[in-house]
Assembly symmetry: C2
Homo-oligomer: 217 residues x 2
DNA sequence: TTAATTTTTTAGATAAGACTAAAAATATTT
DNA sequence: AAATATTTTTAGTCTTATCTAAAAAATTAA
Protein backbone atom coordinates (compact mmCIF):
# COMPACT_ATOMS: atom_id res chain seq x y z
CA UNK A 1 0.00 0.00 0.00
CA UNK A 2 1.24 3.49 -0.79
CA UNK A 3 0.85 6.67 1.19
CA UNK A 4 -0.60 9.87 -0.19
CA UNK A 5 2.89 11.31 -0.38
CA UNK A 6 4.31 8.30 -2.16
CA UNK A 7 1.48 8.41 -4.68
CA UNK A 8 2.18 12.06 -5.38
CA UNK A 9 5.83 11.34 -6.02
CA UNK A 10 4.97 8.50 -8.39
CA UNK A 11 2.52 10.65 -10.28
CA UNK A 12 5.02 13.51 -10.56
CA UNK A 13 7.77 11.20 -11.82
CA UNK A 14 5.36 9.61 -14.28
CA UNK A 15 4.46 12.99 -15.73
CA UNK A 16 8.10 14.02 -15.96
CA UNK A 17 8.86 10.80 -17.81
CA UNK A 18 6.25 11.52 -20.48
CA UNK A 19 8.18 14.68 -21.31
CA UNK A 20 11.82 13.64 -21.12
CA UNK A 21 12.08 9.82 -21.12
CA UNK A 22 15.58 10.09 -19.58
CA UNK A 23 16.28 9.33 -15.94
CA UNK A 24 14.32 11.86 -13.93
CA UNK A 25 16.52 14.17 -11.85
CA UNK A 26 16.11 14.83 -8.16
CA UNK A 27 15.85 18.55 -8.83
CA UNK A 28 13.09 18.26 -11.40
CA UNK A 29 11.00 16.20 -8.99
CA UNK A 30 11.62 18.73 -6.23
CA UNK A 31 10.52 21.55 -8.49
CA UNK A 32 7.37 19.76 -9.63
CA UNK A 33 6.34 18.92 -6.08
CA UNK A 34 7.44 22.27 -4.64
CA UNK A 35 9.69 20.57 -2.14
CA UNK A 36 13.45 20.36 -1.55
CA UNK A 37 15.95 18.11 -3.28
CA UNK A 38 16.97 16.58 0.03
CA UNK A 39 13.40 15.52 0.71
CA UNK A 40 13.24 13.96 -2.72
CA UNK A 41 16.41 11.96 -2.11
CA UNK A 42 14.89 10.54 1.06
CA UNK A 43 11.67 9.60 -0.66
CA UNK A 44 13.15 8.02 -3.78
CA UNK A 45 15.27 5.77 -1.59
CA UNK A 46 12.11 4.58 0.09
CA UNK A 47 10.35 4.13 -3.25
CA UNK A 48 13.31 2.20 -4.62
CA UNK A 49 13.05 -0.15 -1.62
CA UNK A 50 9.41 -0.65 -2.54
CA UNK A 51 10.40 -1.61 -6.09
CA UNK A 52 8.40 1.09 -7.82
CA UNK A 53 11.43 2.82 -9.27
CA UNK A 54 15.09 2.23 -10.02
CA UNK A 55 17.56 4.56 -8.37
CA UNK A 56 21.32 4.84 -8.66
CA UNK A 57 22.97 7.63 -6.75
CA UNK A 58 23.40 10.78 -8.83
CA UNK A 59 21.74 9.05 -11.80
CA UNK A 60 18.10 10.05 -11.43
CA UNK A 61 15.21 7.59 -11.30
CA UNK A 62 13.08 5.52 -13.65
CA UNK A 63 9.73 3.99 -12.79
CA UNK A 64 9.40 0.21 -12.89
CA UNK A 65 6.33 -1.45 -14.43
CA UNK A 66 4.81 -1.54 -10.99
CA UNK A 67 5.57 2.15 -10.52
CA UNK A 68 3.96 3.05 -13.84
CA UNK A 69 0.94 0.99 -12.92
CA UNK A 70 0.44 2.78 -9.64
CA UNK A 71 0.97 6.18 -11.23
CA UNK A 72 -1.56 5.56 -13.99
CA UNK A 73 -3.97 4.26 -11.38
CA UNK A 74 -3.77 7.56 -9.52
CA UNK A 75 -4.10 9.52 -12.77
CA UNK A 76 -7.15 7.46 -13.71
CA UNK A 77 -8.76 8.37 -10.42
CA UNK A 78 -7.83 12.04 -10.72
CA UNK A 79 -9.35 12.35 -14.18
CA UNK A 80 -12.49 10.35 -13.47
CA UNK A 81 -13.20 12.53 -10.44
CA UNK A 82 -12.70 15.61 -12.60
CA UNK A 83 -15.30 14.31 -15.03
CA UNK A 84 -17.65 13.62 -12.15
CA UNK A 85 -17.26 17.12 -10.77
CA UNK A 86 -17.91 18.78 -14.12
CA UNK A 87 -20.59 16.47 -15.50
CA UNK A 88 -22.55 15.84 -12.33
CA UNK A 89 -21.76 18.54 -9.78
CA UNK A 90 -21.69 21.72 -11.85
CA UNK A 91 -18.01 22.45 -11.39
CA UNK A 92 -16.28 24.37 -14.15
CA UNK A 93 -13.05 23.06 -15.60
CA UNK A 94 -10.99 25.57 -13.68
CA UNK A 95 -12.39 24.49 -10.31
CA UNK A 96 -11.79 20.77 -10.38
CA UNK A 97 -8.09 20.26 -10.02
CA UNK A 98 -7.56 20.90 -6.31
CA UNK A 99 -10.49 18.74 -5.29
CA UNK A 100 -9.33 15.97 -7.63
CA UNK A 101 -5.91 16.15 -6.01
CA UNK A 102 -7.59 15.06 -2.80
CA UNK A 103 -10.02 12.55 -4.29
CA UNK A 104 -7.34 10.75 -6.30
CA UNK A 105 -6.00 9.20 -3.09
CA UNK A 106 -9.22 7.50 -1.98
CA UNK A 107 -8.61 3.78 -1.87
CA UNK A 108 -11.41 1.59 -3.18
CA UNK A 109 -11.25 -0.32 -6.45
CA UNK A 110 -15.01 -0.79 -6.43
CA UNK A 111 -15.56 2.91 -6.00
CA UNK A 112 -13.48 3.92 -8.96
CA UNK A 113 -14.77 1.24 -11.30
CA UNK A 114 -18.39 1.99 -10.42
CA UNK A 115 -17.69 5.69 -10.86
CA UNK A 116 -16.25 4.94 -14.29
CA UNK A 117 -19.43 3.07 -15.25
CA UNK A 118 -21.67 5.75 -13.73
CA UNK A 119 -19.96 8.36 -15.90
CA UNK A 120 -20.32 6.19 -19.02
CA UNK A 121 -16.67 5.19 -19.31
CA UNK A 122 -15.39 8.58 -20.43
CA UNK A 123 -12.25 8.58 -22.56
CA UNK A 124 -11.03 12.07 -21.67
CA UNK A 125 -11.22 14.44 -18.74
CA UNK A 126 -12.50 18.05 -18.81
CA UNK A 127 -9.09 19.27 -20.01
CA UNK A 128 -8.92 16.79 -22.87
CA UNK A 129 -6.48 14.45 -21.13
CA UNK A 130 -6.97 10.72 -21.71
CA UNK A 131 -8.36 8.55 -18.91
CA UNK A 132 -6.60 5.20 -18.41
CA UNK A 133 -8.95 2.23 -18.29
CA UNK A 134 -9.10 -0.37 -15.52
CA UNK A 135 -5.91 -1.98 -16.84
CA UNK A 136 -4.06 1.31 -17.13
CA UNK A 137 -4.36 1.42 -20.92
CA UNK A 138 -5.20 4.56 -22.85
CA UNK A 139 -4.64 5.62 -26.40
CA UNK A 140 -2.36 8.51 -27.12
CA UNK A 141 -4.32 11.37 -28.57
CA UNK A 142 -2.96 12.89 -31.77
CA UNK A 143 -2.46 16.56 -31.04
CA UNK A 144 -0.27 19.57 -31.74
CA UNK A 145 0.16 22.93 -30.12
CA UNK A 146 -1.83 25.77 -31.65
CA UNK A 147 1.46 27.68 -31.91
CA UNK A 148 2.70 25.18 -34.51
CA UNK A 149 -0.19 25.69 -36.90
CA UNK A 150 0.40 27.68 -40.07
CA UNK A 151 -1.82 30.59 -41.10
CA UNK A 152 -4.96 29.70 -43.05
CA UNK A 153 -5.03 26.20 -41.54
CA UNK A 154 -7.73 25.17 -39.15
CA UNK A 155 -8.32 22.64 -36.40
CA UNK A 156 -10.30 21.80 -33.32
CA UNK A 157 -9.29 22.58 -29.76
CA UNK A 158 -8.95 19.23 -27.98
CA UNK A 159 -6.89 19.96 -24.93
CA UNK A 160 -4.81 22.30 -22.83
CA UNK A 161 -1.22 21.95 -21.70
CA UNK A 162 -1.56 24.25 -18.70
CA UNK A 163 -4.62 23.54 -16.61
CA UNK A 164 -4.16 26.25 -14.05
CA UNK A 165 -7.26 28.12 -13.02
CA UNK A 166 -5.85 31.40 -14.39
CA UNK A 167 -5.26 30.02 -17.85
CA UNK A 168 -8.61 28.24 -18.03
CA UNK A 169 -10.42 31.39 -16.99
CA UNK A 170 -8.63 33.25 -19.78
CA UNK A 171 -9.90 30.65 -22.23
CA UNK A 172 -13.43 30.99 -20.85
CA UNK A 173 -13.28 34.74 -21.38
CA UNK A 174 -12.62 34.24 -25.07
CA UNK A 175 -14.98 31.27 -25.29
CA UNK A 176 -12.22 28.90 -26.19
CA UNK A 177 -13.38 25.45 -25.13
CA UNK A 178 -12.85 21.81 -26.08
CA UNK A 179 -14.41 20.92 -29.40
CA UNK A 180 -14.26 24.47 -30.61
CA UNK A 181 -13.10 25.07 -34.17
CA UNK A 182 -10.21 27.49 -34.57
CA UNK A 183 -8.79 28.91 -37.77
CA UNK A 184 -5.41 30.58 -37.75
CA UNK A 185 -5.65 33.81 -39.73
CA UNK A 186 -2.14 35.17 -39.36
CA UNK A 187 0.99 35.02 -37.30
CA UNK A 188 2.88 38.16 -36.30
CA UNK A 189 6.57 37.54 -37.04
CA UNK A 190 7.80 39.93 -34.36
CA UNK A 191 6.30 38.19 -31.30
CA UNK A 192 4.71 35.07 -32.81
CA UNK A 193 1.28 36.17 -31.63
CA UNK A 194 -1.61 34.65 -33.58
CA UNK A 195 -4.77 36.13 -34.95
CA UNK A 196 -7.37 33.39 -34.94
CA UNK A 197 -10.97 33.02 -36.01
CA UNK A 198 -13.22 31.51 -33.36
CA UNK A 199 -17.01 31.81 -33.02
CA UNK A 200 -16.89 33.90 -36.22
CA UNK A 201 -14.81 36.49 -34.44
CA UNK A 202 -11.19 37.40 -34.91
CA UNK A 203 -9.05 37.62 -31.79
CA UNK A 204 -5.35 37.93 -31.23
CA UNK A 205 -3.59 35.72 -28.71
CA UNK A 206 -0.01 35.74 -27.53
CA UNK A 207 2.44 33.01 -28.35
CA UNK A 208 2.39 31.96 -24.71
CA UNK A 209 -1.34 31.28 -24.97
CA UNK A 210 -0.98 29.46 -28.27
CA UNK A 211 1.68 27.34 -26.67
CA UNK A 212 -0.78 25.93 -24.17
CA UNK A 213 -3.64 24.96 -26.44
CA UNK A 214 -3.73 21.57 -28.15
CA UNK A 215 -5.28 21.27 -31.58
CA UNK A 216 -6.33 18.33 -33.70
CA UNK A 217 -6.02 19.19 -37.35
CA UNK B 1 -8.00 23.90 9.33
CA UNK B 2 -8.12 20.48 10.94
CA UNK B 3 -6.14 17.38 10.12
CA UNK B 4 -7.67 14.03 9.33
CA UNK B 5 -6.73 12.80 12.76
CA UNK B 6 -8.18 15.83 14.53
CA UNK B 7 -11.43 15.41 12.61
CA UNK B 8 -11.63 11.79 13.66
CA UNK B 9 -11.19 12.73 17.31
CA UNK B 10 -13.89 15.37 17.08
CA UNK B 11 -16.28 12.96 15.43
CA UNK B 12 -15.60 10.29 18.04
CA UNK B 13 -16.13 12.71 20.92
CA UNK B 14 -19.31 14.00 19.31
CA UNK B 15 -20.72 10.49 19.05
CA UNK B 16 -19.77 9.70 22.63
CA UNK B 17 -21.52 12.88 23.77
CA UNK B 18 -24.80 11.84 22.14
CA UNK B 19 -24.78 8.78 24.39
CA UNK B 20 -23.56 10.06 27.72
CA UNK B 21 -23.76 13.89 27.81
CA UNK B 22 -21.19 13.94 30.66
CA UNK B 23 -17.60 14.97 30.18
CA UNK B 24 -16.11 12.40 27.83
CA UNK B 25 -13.33 10.36 29.39
CA UNK B 26 -9.90 9.84 27.92
CA UNK B 27 -10.34 6.10 28.06
CA UNK B 28 -13.64 6.06 26.21
CA UNK B 29 -12.12 8.09 23.38
CA UNK B 30 -9.13 5.77 23.27
CA UNK B 31 -11.41 2.75 23.05
CA UNK B 32 -13.56 4.25 20.31
CA UNK B 33 -10.56 5.21 18.20
CA UNK B 34 -8.61 2.03 18.98
CA UNK B 35 -5.69 4.03 20.29
CA UNK B 36 -4.00 4.52 23.67
CA UNK B 37 -5.07 6.84 26.45
CA UNK B 38 -1.73 8.62 26.36
CA UNK B 39 -2.23 9.44 22.70
CA UNK B 40 -5.65 10.80 23.50
CA UNK B 41 -4.27 13.06 26.22
CA UNK B 42 -1.80 14.53 23.74
CA UNK B 43 -4.46 15.13 21.14
CA UNK B 44 -7.08 16.65 23.42
CA UNK B 45 -4.53 19.15 24.66
CA UNK B 46 -3.96 20.20 21.10
CA UNK B 47 -7.68 20.37 20.40
CA UNK B 48 -8.23 22.44 23.54
CA UNK B 49 -5.60 24.89 22.25
CA UNK B 50 -7.60 25.10 19.04
CA UNK B 51 -10.74 25.94 21.02
CA UNK B 52 -12.82 23.03 19.79
CA UNK B 53 -13.15 21.45 23.20
CA UNK B 54 -12.81 22.23 26.86
CA UNK B 55 -10.35 20.17 28.84
CA UNK B 56 -9.47 20.13 32.50
CA UNK B 57 -6.98 17.56 33.68
CA UNK B 58 -8.62 14.35 34.87
CA UNK B 59 -12.06 15.82 34.09
CA UNK B 60 -12.71 14.59 30.57
CA UNK B 61 -13.64 16.84 27.66
CA UNK B 62 -16.66 18.64 26.24
CA UNK B 63 -16.95 19.99 22.71
CA UNK B 64 -17.39 23.72 22.23
CA UNK B 65 -19.89 25.08 19.71
CA UNK B 66 -17.07 25.24 17.20
CA UNK B 67 -16.16 21.65 17.98
CA UNK B 68 -19.75 20.49 17.50
CA UNK B 69 -19.91 22.37 14.24
CA UNK B 70 -16.82 20.71 12.86
CA UNK B 71 -17.95 17.28 14.03
CA UNK B 72 -21.39 17.59 12.43
CA UNK B 73 -19.71 18.85 9.27
CA UNK B 74 -17.68 15.66 9.06
CA UNK B 75 -20.73 13.54 9.84
CA UNK B 76 -22.69 15.36 7.14
CA UNK B 77 -20.00 14.49 4.63
CA UNK B 78 -19.77 10.88 5.78
CA UNK B 79 -23.49 10.31 5.42
CA UNK B 80 -23.91 12.13 2.13
CA UNK B 81 -21.11 10.07 0.63
CA UNK B 82 -22.79 6.92 1.91
CA UNK B 83 -26.00 7.92 0.12
CA UNK B 84 -24.02 8.60 -3.04
CA UNK B 85 -22.36 5.20 -2.92
CA UNK B 86 -25.64 3.35 -2.41
CA UNK B 87 -27.92 5.41 -4.66
CA UNK B 88 -25.55 6.06 -7.54
CA UNK B 89 -22.72 3.55 -7.43
CA UNK B 90 -24.46 0.27 -6.58
CA UNK B 91 -22.84 -0.19 -3.20
CA UNK B 92 -24.80 -2.12 -0.62
CA UNK B 93 -25.28 -0.68 2.85
CA UNK B 94 -22.67 -2.95 4.34
CA UNK B 95 -19.95 -1.82 1.91
CA UNK B 96 -20.07 1.95 2.32
CA UNK B 97 -18.63 2.71 5.72
CA UNK B 98 -14.91 2.27 5.09
CA UNK B 99 -14.98 4.30 1.90
CA UNK B 100 -17.03 7.03 3.58
CA UNK B 101 -14.43 7.14 6.36
CA UNK B 102 -11.97 8.28 3.71
CA UNK B 103 -14.29 10.55 1.74
CA UNK B 104 -15.50 12.42 4.82
CA UNK B 105 -12.13 14.18 5.05
CA UNK B 106 -12.18 15.73 1.57
CA UNK B 107 -12.14 19.49 1.92
CA UNK B 108 -14.39 21.42 -0.45
CA UNK B 109 -17.56 23.20 0.62
CA UNK B 110 -18.74 23.41 -2.98
CA UNK B 111 -18.24 19.69 -3.46
CA UNK B 112 -20.35 18.69 -0.52
CA UNK B 113 -23.14 21.17 -1.16
CA UNK B 114 -23.36 20.22 -4.82
CA UNK B 115 -23.33 16.56 -3.85
CA UNK B 116 -26.19 17.23 -1.44
CA UNK B 117 -28.22 18.84 -4.26
CA UNK B 118 -27.28 16.10 -6.73
CA UNK B 119 -28.64 13.51 -4.31
CA UNK B 120 -31.85 15.50 -3.79
CA UNK B 121 -31.08 16.73 -0.27
CA UNK B 122 -31.53 13.38 1.44
CA UNK B 123 -32.60 13.47 5.08
CA UNK B 124 -31.15 10.11 6.13
CA UNK B 125 -28.27 7.87 5.15
CA UNK B 126 -28.48 4.21 4.13
CA UNK B 127 -28.49 3.15 7.79
CA UNK B 128 -31.32 5.49 8.73
CA UNK B 129 -29.08 8.07 10.40
CA UNK B 130 -30.02 11.72 9.92
CA UNK B 131 -27.93 13.93 7.63
CA UNK B 132 -27.14 17.41 8.99
CA UNK B 133 -27.94 20.21 6.57
CA UNK B 134 -25.52 22.93 5.45
CA UNK B 135 -25.92 24.68 8.81
CA UNK B 136 -25.41 21.51 10.82
CA UNK B 137 -29.08 21.21 11.70
CA UNK B 138 -30.97 17.94 11.66
CA UNK B 139 -34.08 16.73 13.33
CA UNK B 140 -33.88 13.97 15.86
CA UNK B 141 -35.67 10.93 14.59
CA UNK B 142 -38.16 9.34 16.98
CA UNK B 143 -37.07 5.76 17.41
CA UNK B 144 -36.85 2.88 19.84
CA UNK B 145 -34.99 -0.37 19.90
CA UNK B 146 -36.85 -3.40 18.62
CA UNK B 147 -35.97 -5.10 21.91
CA UNK B 148 -38.20 -2.63 23.78
CA UNK B 149 -41.33 -3.43 21.81
CA UNK B 150 -44.04 -5.53 23.47
CA UNK B 151 -45.50 -8.64 21.82
CA UNK B 152 -48.37 -8.04 19.40
CA UNK B 153 -47.20 -4.48 18.71
CA UNK B 154 -45.84 -3.53 15.33
CA UNK B 155 -43.56 -0.93 13.81
CA UNK B 156 -41.32 -0.07 10.90
CA UNK B 157 -37.57 -0.61 10.81
CA UNK B 158 -36.01 2.83 10.42
CA UNK B 159 -32.40 2.37 11.45
CA UNK B 160 -29.62 0.29 12.87
CA UNK B 161 -27.47 0.89 15.92
CA UNK B 162 -24.58 -1.27 14.79
CA UNK B 163 -23.62 -0.66 11.18
CA UNK B 164 -20.86 -3.22 10.96
CA UNK B 165 -20.72 -5.23 7.79
CA UNK B 166 -21.37 -8.46 9.70
CA UNK B 167 -24.57 -7.22 11.27
CA UNK B 168 -25.88 -5.65 8.06
CA UNK B 169 -25.25 -8.88 6.17
CA UNK B 170 -27.21 -10.73 8.81
CA UNK B 171 -30.12 -8.34 8.26
CA UNK B 172 -29.87 -8.84 4.50
CA UNK B 173 -30.08 -12.59 4.98
CA UNK B 174 -33.40 -12.23 6.74
CA UNK B 175 -34.55 -9.45 4.42
CA UNK B 176 -34.71 -6.93 7.22
CA UNK B 177 -34.27 -3.53 5.62
CA UNK B 178 -35.22 0.08 6.23
CA UNK B 179 -38.95 0.72 5.77
CA UNK B 180 -39.81 -2.88 6.46
CA UNK B 181 -42.78 -3.55 8.70
CA UNK B 182 -42.10 -5.78 11.67
CA UNK B 183 -44.61 -7.28 14.10
CA UNK B 184 -43.46 -8.75 17.37
CA UNK B 185 -45.19 -12.04 17.92
CA UNK B 186 -43.68 -13.16 21.19
CA UNK B 187 -40.78 -12.71 23.52
CA UNK B 188 -39.03 -15.66 25.13
CA UNK B 189 -38.61 -14.82 28.82
CA UNK B 190 -35.54 -17.00 29.29
CA UNK B 191 -33.19 -15.22 26.83
CA UNK B 192 -35.33 -12.30 25.64
CA UNK B 193 -35.20 -13.57 22.08
CA UNK B 194 -38.03 -12.32 19.87
CA UNK B 195 -40.23 -14.08 17.38
CA UNK B 196 -41.21 -11.52 14.77
CA UNK B 197 -43.35 -11.44 11.68
CA UNK B 198 -41.63 -9.95 8.64
CA UNK B 199 -42.45 -10.48 4.95
CA UNK B 200 -45.34 -12.69 6.17
CA UNK B 201 -42.82 -15.05 7.69
CA UNK B 202 -42.10 -15.74 11.32
CA UNK B 203 -38.48 -15.68 12.38
CA UNK B 204 -36.76 -15.72 15.74
CA UNK B 205 -33.97 -13.29 16.51
CA UNK B 206 -31.73 -13.02 19.54
CA UNK B 207 -31.92 -10.16 22.00
CA UNK B 208 -28.55 -8.96 20.75
CA UNK B 209 -30.00 -8.55 17.27
CA UNK B 210 -33.16 -6.86 18.56
CA UNK B 211 -30.96 -4.49 20.49
CA UNK B 212 -29.43 -3.14 17.30
CA UNK B 213 -32.54 -2.47 15.24
CA UNK B 214 -34.39 0.82 15.52
CA UNK B 215 -38.15 0.87 15.11
CA UNK B 216 -40.67 3.62 14.63
CA UNK B 217 -43.97 2.63 16.13
C1' DT C 1 -10.01 6.09 56.45
C1' DT C 2 -6.51 3.55 54.75
C1' DA C 3 -5.36 0.40 51.04
C1' DA C 4 -5.91 -1.35 46.52
C1' DT C 5 -7.38 -0.52 41.91
C1' DT C 6 -8.30 2.07 37.94
C1' DT C 7 -7.75 6.09 35.19
C1' DT C 8 -5.12 9.73 33.51
C1' DT C 9 -1.01 12.15 32.70
C1' DT C 10 3.94 12.63 31.95
C1' DA C 11 8.34 11.27 30.08
C1' DG C 12 10.82 9.42 26.62
C1' DA C 13 11.03 6.83 22.04
C1' DT C 14 9.76 5.95 17.21
C1' DA C 15 8.38 6.63 12.26
C1' DA C 16 7.00 9.53 8.32
C1' DG C 17 7.86 13.41 5.90
C1' DA C 18 9.58 17.69 5.62
C1' DC C 19 13.47 21.31 6.30
C1' DT C 20 18.49 23.69 6.54
C1' DA C 21 23.29 23.49 6.17
C1' DA C 22 27.25 21.25 4.78
C1' DA C 23 29.76 17.69 2.19
C1' DA C 24 30.42 15.03 -1.94
C1' DA C 25 29.84 14.12 -6.70
C1' DT C 26 29.03 15.66 -11.28
C1' DA C 27 28.92 19.08 -14.96
C1' DT C 28 30.48 23.26 -17.07
C1' DT C 29 33.87 26.89 -17.93
C1' DT C 30 38.06 28.80 -18.47
C1' DA D 1 43.25 19.85 -16.93
C1' DA D 2 42.15 22.76 -13.39
C1' DA D 3 38.83 25.88 -11.49
C1' DT D 4 34.15 26.99 -10.86
C1' DA D 5 29.39 26.10 -10.63
C1' DT D 6 25.59 23.08 -10.14
C1' DT D 7 23.39 19.03 -8.53
C1' DT D 8 22.82 15.53 -5.30
C1' DT D 9 23.47 13.40 -1.02
C1' DT D 10 24.26 13.28 3.96
C1' DA D 11 23.73 14.79 8.65
C1' DG D 12 21.06 16.69 11.87
C1' DT D 13 16.58 19.05 13.28
C1' DC D 14 11.47 19.63 13.46
C1' DT D 15 6.45 18.42 13.60
C1' DT D 16 2.63 15.20 13.84
C1' DA D 17 0.81 11.28 15.58
C1' DT D 18 1.71 7.27 17.56
C1' DC D 19 3.59 4.00 21.33
C1' DT D 20 5.43 1.96 26.16
C1' DA D 21 6.56 2.51 30.82
C1' DA D 22 6.30 5.00 34.90
C1' DA D 23 4.28 8.55 37.90
C1' DA D 24 0.33 10.94 39.68
C1' DA D 25 -4.47 11.52 40.61
C1' DA D 26 -8.98 9.78 41.35
C1' DT D 27 -12.00 6.06 42.44
C1' DT D 28 -13.42 1.92 44.75
C1' DA D 29 -12.91 -1.57 48.30
C1' DA D 30 -11.68 -3.18 52.67
MN1 LIG E 1 -6.19 17.97 -12.70
MN1 LIG F 1 -7.42 17.22 -15.88
MN1 LIG G 1 -20.74 4.99 8.24
MN1 LIG H 1 -24.17 5.52 8.01
Amino acid sequence: MFTLSEENYLKAIYHLQTISRKGISTNSIAKKLKTKASSVTDMIKKLADKKVLVYKKYQGVTLTDLGNQIATGVIRKHRLWEVFLVDKLNFSWDEVHDVAEQLEHIKSPKLINELDAFLGFPKTDPHGDPIPDKDGEFQKIEKRLLSTIEPSQLGVCIGVKDSSSEFLKYLDKYQISLGQQIKVISKEPFDDSLTILIHDKEITISQKIANNIYIQS
